[in-house]
Symmetry: C2
Subunit: 218 residues, 2 copies
DNA sequence: ATATAAATTTAGGCAAACCTAAAAATAATA
DNA sequence: TATTATTTTTAGGTTTGCCTAAATTTATAT
């Protein structure tokens, strides 16, 4: 079941809007994301529907079918593996990779993806911290990671904090608790300390020993 | 000066047919190589001509302009770098790489090519033994390589042999001399010994110490 | 509940890159 | 040099994916 680049982009966009709970996605949202017009979207939705990749009823938005979800996840897999490659091997910076990965994700070759995955030693998260689906399109349950291992720019939710009263007191003072949303703004490669944005509001600098005692999930 | 994938494929095909001496290439030859029809080729030739990538006069075949040649060489560069990557890093075999490299060569990103080149440590020859143009589109004069460094399946011409009478005697006995055409049939990764086809006729097995004392060019 | 606004779909077009069939130019041969 | 054969070009067509403008459906607000 081979798609054109355009079909793949539509599937991916629908997937990103629908989220894992596969909510219905509107024509306009898709058009806005892809920078196309609603009329073009309607046209493509008919094609995808004919291929049973989406469920489409006029004026009603779309949801992905199982088959469509799987296709989308495989594209996401490719995208994220290539991003990992670009950063880890080619030393691209975080903000240069998207455009290139957008192109690489459309290369058609199962063998290529699997060998790339092997070469990269089966990374589980891309450079943004997003999970990489496996070859069956399965995303491992977002189990937690230590904050210290979280990649720059990634948003995460505090999951668990090592039960040390002193630490807990300190964290609550700076506004971090279970459920707090953290965004890693900067990682200092010298001492592994981090600059965080907490709940989209306050910035805080924490040392590696603290980061090492906080677990987060995505 | 960005091309479509199709334009790039036409340029590359013209380049391959024209060779380094830039002979005129016919409409029919291009059509045959690309698996398209002559009428489609004519159409595309007009486009490329308008961009001054080729010199085109009706019924007269085409030649590449300097600008066209440079574009073509940059595509060839990308193709060969990716082939090298596929074989050396992803462990593709020699015969699986072409189709994938055909896709990868069209990824648009100068940065990507240059970082890939750096990552691969500036390889000078692709897995078929063909030279990789540099970022300016220049192919280094095909200077010689040690036979021992020649990649499997590649044909080469004997250039120079270390001046050791004993070696020379042995080589002449097995039919190798300056100007002999050698094809590397097999390289034994254990002891670096090689199985060679000499002048398209006889097969000979040589040890690494001998291969180390023979220079070849392509 | 009805009028207005917003979202979606339909209808008709355009450009790229392909096609077939016919016409024109060039090449080959009696 | 005619005449045939081959190559190349031109003149319409097709498909994909996009567009605008108009029509239709759904949502919102008085």
């Amino acid at each position: 079941m081979i798609q054109t680049t355009s079909e793949e982009n539509y599937l991916k966009t629908i997937f990103h809007h629908a989220g894992l709970s596969n909510n219905a996605v509107t024509t306009n949202d898709i058009a806005a994301s892809l920078g196309t017009k609603a009329a073009s979207v309607t046209e493509m939705l008919k094609k995808l529907s004919a291929q049973k990749l989406i469920r489409y009823k006029k004026y009603n938005g779309v949801t992905l079918t199982d088959s469509g979800t799987k296709q989308a996840l495989l594209i996401v897999r490719k995208h994220r593996l290539w991003e990992y490659f670009l950063v880890e091997k080619l030393k691209f910076s975080w903000d240069e990779i998207h455009e290139v990965a957008e192109q690489l994700e459309h290369i058609q070759s199962e063998t290529l993806v699997e060998r790339l995955d092997t070469f990269l030693e089966h990374p589980r998260f891309d450079p943004h911290g997003d999970p990489i689906p496996d070859k069956k399109g399965i995303i491992k349950k977002s189990d937690s990671q230590k904050l210290i291992d979280v990649t720059e720019k990634k948003e995460a939710i505090v999951n668990l904090v090592t039960d040390q009263p002193e630490l807990l007191r300190y964290l609550s003072k700076i506004g971090i608790s279970i459920g707090s949303k953290l965004k890693v703004i900067e990682k200092n490669s010298f001492d592994q300390s981090m600059l965080l944005l907490i709940n989209g509001k306050s910035k805080v600098h924490i040392s590696s020993s603290i980061a090492n005692n906080i677990s987060v999930q995505f």
